[in-house]
């Protein structure tokens, strides 16, 4: 090759890449050398190098090179050794999307589209939603505008790969001199090479999920320490102390227990606890005896650490406290062999207008948020008393809707000016909070049946609002990508949690009130410190929008459900997914842990309520990791409803499971 020509190539390349100063220096050097002795050191005579340089200088814009390079790499990966194949195939996805975005970025819309369509089948199974998003990117400006594409461009993907696979890949890339692919891989993939045998293909979820630039920050953030324990001097604590006392005294006199039970019955009737029927009450009591025995066991198994509250918590009135203690004392102990009873509240005649449903802690009040901006609150205890035979079927519903004096039997709360997306009851059931598309949150009193406060702060529809476990404080989240902490007595938010890359879709309090968790459309779940407003955990692993969250009562675990029907159990302290719970095949709208945390209930758009065994899926982790058995989740029961997607679930303090949903006519 003509040395002159080589120089020219180098110059051209430098200019193209924008290394202007380097180009200038090279030019000067060339000028300088022109007259003098040309000590041609190496690169002019080295044929390998010349070839390389030439390949760089080849028309960079040639769009077919991407296609060729990618298809070669693909066929190589598919023909590679079975043992390493899945690791190599994992590399294909980032290469694929970056090839596509490169093509788009250079303005080859048509070629980009053709490229995308010819290979999208490979990745559809795992990355369907991402592909659907990327599909719309057609002009360079979209790359800038779209959050997802931008974060992909800026970030590197971490891929765990075993030593041998890595060597194989590098060998291939060098041998075939596919510099383009090499460039993409170098630019966008961060290999974490480990020695030894390749992992089994199924169990590392994070390997296949591509998230934005925060993988490292996430790792960094997840190093922070969190106090996941329960509050000291909580009611549970007190119960355990008094409970042991009780069991001592019970040995002596069995009658006192009966009296106790009667008392509780009276009281719960007075307060309207446990709502509609006495049956429930009896049932709860039946399990009482066994409950005591089992509770002592569990208290030995998992002594959750105690922490101090960081918020000034409201003082509970002794009445409320007593009734809660009573409930806790009468709680049925649930396990994989002792299943809960499920009471289902079906909304009828909603005409597709029910956006959300919420059940009070004792199950006696049910609130529905409607798309016509209204909120309706039903008092199930009253309904149960009024029409004892009201459960006969659909024919009776008309009569039932109209109360005894010809009026409707619910409380209508009007005030919002947009679809109501969420409603939540305060723990004693005296307040309701609702959030709406009109960007406001409203506080309602169930005693006055009136609106008390309107909280304005969010700039976009507020997707979710949740009362804290002790009331007074509440958290909201919105399309504006923030979550906010509020207290009932101030119209301004106390904290704003910003950091999610897309809508924050759901929010949930940690049982000790020091943290909130948020689930987002960016497919992550984050844990925030309420006091500092900092993000303390990022949970990466979901493949679609996170729709529901639940915290285990001991504060150690969190469950999150997504749009695809996957539920993930996370360990808060390590930020690792313990088990993905597969079983639903549509959106998981709601999750709830049982009172002592042994069961997880999930309600889904596929018209089922499922119960999952939590204890076995968390306890066995270590033992089963050795076996490599990943199938440690246990779906205990599936309760299909007739045709009712399950919108809300709640375990009462006595471990009765309440579920609610709107009857939908099956598609005809």
């Amino acid at each position: 090759m003509d040395p002159e020509q080589v120089d020219e190539f180098v110059m051209g390349y430098l200019k193209k890449k924008g290394f202007n100063s380097a180009a200038k220096q090279l030019q000067e050097a060339l000028h300088h050398n022109n007259g003098g002795t040309f000590n041609s050191t190496d690169y002019h005579n080295d044929p390998e190098l010349t070839k390389l340089i030439r390949s760089f200088s080849q028309s960079e814009n040639d769009p077919t090179r991407y296609r060729d390079g990618y298809s070669k790499l693909r066929s190589w990966a598919y023909n590679s050794l079975d043992l390493y194949k899945h690791e190599l195939l994992r590399v294909m996805y980032p290469v694929f999307i970056h090839c596509y975005m490169d093509l788009v970025g250079k303005g080859h819309t048509r070629e980009a589209r053709a490229f995308f369509n010819s290979f999208r089948k490979d990745h559809e199974m795992i990355h369907l939603r991402d592909l659907q998003k990327l599909e719309g990117v057609l002009v360079p400006s979209h790359l800038e505008e779209m959050e997802f594409a931008r974060s992909l461009r800026q970030s590197k993907v971490n891929i765990k790969i075993c030593q041998y696979s890595y060597d194989l890949l590098l060998q291939y890339l060098h041998r075939t001199e596919s510099t383009l692919m090499l460039g993409i891989i170098n630019e966008h993939i961060n290999f974490q090479v480990y020695s030894g045998q390749p992992n089994s293909s199924s169990d590392d979820i994070d390997a296949v999920t591509i998230v934005g630039s925060f993988q490292e920050t996430a790792d960094h953030i997840n190093q922070k320490e969190i106090q996941w324990g329960l509050l000291e001097d909580s009611l549970e604590d007190r119960l355990e102390k008094t409970g042991s006392l009780l069991s001592d005294s019970e040995k002596g006199q069995g009658e006192s227990k009966d009296g106790d039970v009667d008392d509780s019955k009276k009281r719960s009737n007075e307060i309207g606890k446990q709502g509609s029927s006495l049956k429930k009450l009896k049932k709860d009591k039946a399990g009482n005896a066994t409950a005591k025995v089992a509770r002592q066991e569990t208290s030995i198994v998992s002594p959750a650490p105690r922490v101090k509250p960081e918020l000034a918590l409201p003082v509970m009135s002794t009445d409320v406290e007593e009734s809660i203690l009573e409930d806790l004392r009468n709680r049925v102990q649930l396990s994989s062999v002792a299943m809960p009873s499920v009471s289902f509240y079906t909304f009828v005649n909603t005409h597709n207008g029910l956006n959300c449903a919420s059940i009070s802690h004792d199950g006696s009040l049910v609130a529905g948020g409607f798309s016509d901006s209204s909120i309706k609150v039903w008092n199930m205890a009253k309904i149960g008393q009024a029409g004892s035979g009201a459960l006969q079927g659909e024919s009776d519903t008309n009569d039932q809707n109209v109360g005894p004096n010809g009026r409707r039997n619910y409380t209508l709360l009007l005030g919002h000016s947009g679809p109501v997306y969420s409603a939540t009851f305060s723990p004693p059931g005296d307040f309701v909070l609702s959030s709406s598309a009109d960007t406001t949150i409203r506080l309602w009193s169930t005693q006055l049946n009136a609106n008390l406060v309107c909280y304005k702060g969010h700039n976009y529809p507020v997707w979710d609002v949740q009362f804290s476990p002790f009331g007074h404080y509440f958290a909201s989240c919105s399309h504006d990508r923030t979550a906010r902490i509020w207290s009932m007595d101030r119209v301004q938010p106390l904290r704003i949690m910003a950091g999610h890359l897309s809508d924050v879709d759901c929010v949930q309090w940690h049982p000790n009130c020091n943290y909130i968790a948020t689930g987002s459309s960016d497919k992550t779940v984050r844990l925030w410190d309420v006091q500092t407003g900092e993000c303390v955990r990022i949970f990466i692993g979901h493949r679609s929008m996170v729709l529901s969250l639940a915290m285990s009562p001991d504060g150690r675990y969190m469950a999150s459900g997504d749009e695809d029907g996957t539920i993930m159990m996370w360990d808060l302290s390590t930020a690792r997914c313990i088990t993905p719970l597969m079983g639903h095949n549509s959106c998981v709208w709601s999750l709830s842990y049982s009172g002592e945390g042994s069961l997880l209930a999930s309600g889904s758009a596929d018209c089922t309520v499922k119960l999952w065994d939590v204890t076995s899926s968390t306890k066995l982790t270590k033992a089963e990791e050795k076996n490599g058995n990943t199938n440690r989740l246990r779906s205990l029961r599936t309760f299909p409803t007739k045709s009712t997607p399950v919108h809300a679930l709640r375990f009462s303090r006595r471990n009765l499971l309440f579920a609610a949903g709107a009857l939908s006519k099956p598609a005809s």
């Binding site: 499920v342 009471s343 079906t346 909304f347 809707n401 959106c587 007739k642």
Partner: protein
């Protein structure tokens, strides 16, 4: 290219009045439009998810447009999701099915009902982990293949296809319920409680899982307790309650129930004591049978034919006891007048001749036998009478001749003949010859209805549109003449401008009418005055 080609942009531009859009501009706009559409869709899907729905609606798109501070699309928020139809002959051309509405229809149609207000109903989805079988819950697969176990086996060891016995899970409450009902049925001790149990059986929801057990129980007890009259009666009451329960789907178990029921209808002996009123049981069971046939006859086509076959066999077998005959007659008569007419009346004549000696107190010395015979005779009479009554009522368009018409020349003939018949019927010594006469007559009466019957009689039928009454039967009897006359009278009344179809209809009516008349007369011959209470007065005046 993307999903939005530049032609779409050009068409849209034209539709909003931009005529000079350059192709380059369209080409530039197309990908951006696609991007924006996708963006809106992405937001719309978020709105949909937060409305807890899985179908995208126009309101979600409006919500998304709101999020982007754009004007919503008006006029589409009609509630339900759109249904798109594929244009025939085009691969990917869709349109919304938008019917043209006629103003007249809209105005004339009644006002739509007010939508029902939202409400909440509560039910148990599960009780301690078990779903109760109540109508609010999805129907359980009662018999479930042990799929899980099989998979497990496959995984663990060599391929062994282990099939566990199918388990039918029955809750404790249901078991207790079943035991209690069974006890009550067998013990017969407390009728009041049993009555309450029957009401519960007839109305309670959630008993469906018990149906196989009940059918089994009934079958067992009936075969075992044929001598126990009260038990049988109780069992039949249970069957009726089960049939009445609207929540029970009893059809799959009918084949098991029917033998027991038929047994209670036509068994030779039901109960062992003289005092046992087994007639009542047979009557009750006959009603049960008709109830079953009415409810399931349509879905279970062979039911009635099989049942009638059994009953007719019992009825026509002279060796069978009279009690059996009685049951069969009651069963058949409960099935409706068509069955009676086709199966009983056609055989009435020979049967009565058989019954005759039993009826006669002098010939039959056994009091019991004689009583039974009278009982059978009564049943027959009732069956025939009800049949004729129904039949006369069934033809509401029976052209009730105008009064004047009645009084005209016809009256003489009508009155003359029945008197003669009556006389002959009353004089018992005249019977033998009479019977012969009717046996030749009988089949002809029935045949016109028996469309699949032998050909000879059908030969002149097609022509019978005009003169069917005369041809279809021998014009020996006098009614024939009267019919002919009345027809003529009718014709005269209506004038000559009658269509042929009208004639045909009239002909048919007259034919039926004639049949009824003949039947009536025949019955009258057989039963004499006893049949009269069954016959409405108008018809009586016409025919007798």
């Amino acid at each position: 290219m993307g999903i939005v080609p530049k032609e779409t942009i050009e068409v849209t531009a034209q539709s909003i009045g931009i005529t000079n859009l350059s192709p380059e501009a369209a080409l530039m706009l197309a990908p951006d439009v696609e991007y924006r559409v996708r963006e809106i869709m992405q937001e719309a899907i978020k709105c949909m998810r937060h409305s807890k729905r899985t179908t995208l609606t126009a309101s979600d798109v409006d919500g998304a447009l709101n999020l982007r501070s754009l004007e919503p699309s008006y006029g589409f928020a009609s509630g339900g999701p759109f249904r798109f139809r594929k244009a025939i002959g085009h691969q990917d051309l869709f349109y919304t099915d938008d019917r043209e509405v006629d103003f007249k229809d809209v105005i004339e149609s009644p006002l739509p009902k007010a939508p029902l207000d939202a409400g909440v109903v509560c039910h148990w989805l599960a009780i301690e982990g078990v779903q109760p079988a109540i109508p609010e819950n999805a129907t359980l697969e009662v018999i479930r293949a042990p799929a899980d176990n099989k998979i497990y086996e496959h995984k663990d060891g060599p391929l062994i296809d282990v099939r566990l016995p199918v388990k039918h899970v029955l809750s404790r409450e249901l078991q207790l319920y079943f035991q209690k009902i069974a006890e009550l049925t067998v013990s017969k001790s407390s009728p009041a409680l049993f009555k309450k149990a029957l009401v519960s059986l007839a109305s309670d929801s959630g008993l469906h899982p018990l149906v196989p057990y009940f059918t089994n129980f009934i079958a067992d007890e009936v075969s075992r307790g044929l001598n126990d009259f009260l038990l049988l009666f109780n069992l039949m009451h249970v069957v009726r309650s089960l049939l009445q329960n609207p929540h029970i789907h009893i059809e799959p178990y009918l084949h098991q129930l029917m033998p027991s029921i038929v047994t209670c209808l036509v068994s030779r002996k039901l109960g062992n004591r003289f005092a046992d009123n087994h007639w009542e049981l047979r009557d009750f069971t006959a009603n049960l049978v008709s109830l079953i046939c009415k409810r399931f006859g349509n879905t279970y086509i062979t039911l009635q034919s099989r049942l009638t076959k059994t009953l007719v066999n019992a009825f026509l077998d002279p060796k069978k006891a009279l009690t059996q005959h009685y049951g069969a007659i009651q069963g058949l008569s409960a099935l409706g007048h068509t069955v009676v007419r086709l199966l009983i009346l056609s055989n009435l004549e020979p049967y009565l001749s058989l019954l005759e000696p039993e009826l006669d107190a002098e010939k039959q010395k056994n009091q019991m036998k004689s009583y039974e015979a009278w009982r059978v005779y009564g049943a027959l009479l009732r069956a025939a009478g009800l049949c004729i009554h129904d039949r006369l009522k069934v033809f509401p368009n029976l052209p009730s001749p105008s009064p004047s018409f009645l009084h005209k020349g016809k009256g003489k003939i009508i009155n003359a003949e029945p008197r003669k018949r009556k006389l002959s019927a009353d004089s018992s010594e005249n019977q033998p010859p009479h019977k012969r006469l009717i046996t030749t007559d009988g089949p002809d009466v029935l045949r016109p209805h028996d469309h699949t019957g032998p050909a000879p009689m059908h030969v002149d039928k097609p022509i019978g549109n005009y003169n069917l009454p005369q041809n279809s039967a021998q014009p020996s009897s006098s009614e024939q003449a009267s019919d002919g006359e009345s027809r003529n009278g009718k014709e005269k009344e209506r004038g000559k401008s009658r269509a042929i179809t009208m004639k045909a209809i009239l002909g048919q009516i007259w034919k039926d009418d004639l049949d009824s008349g003949r039947l009536l007369v025949k019955l009258q011959q057989l039963y004499g005055d006893r049949i009269l209470p069954f016959i409405p007065s108008t018809e009586m005046s016409v025919f007798l």
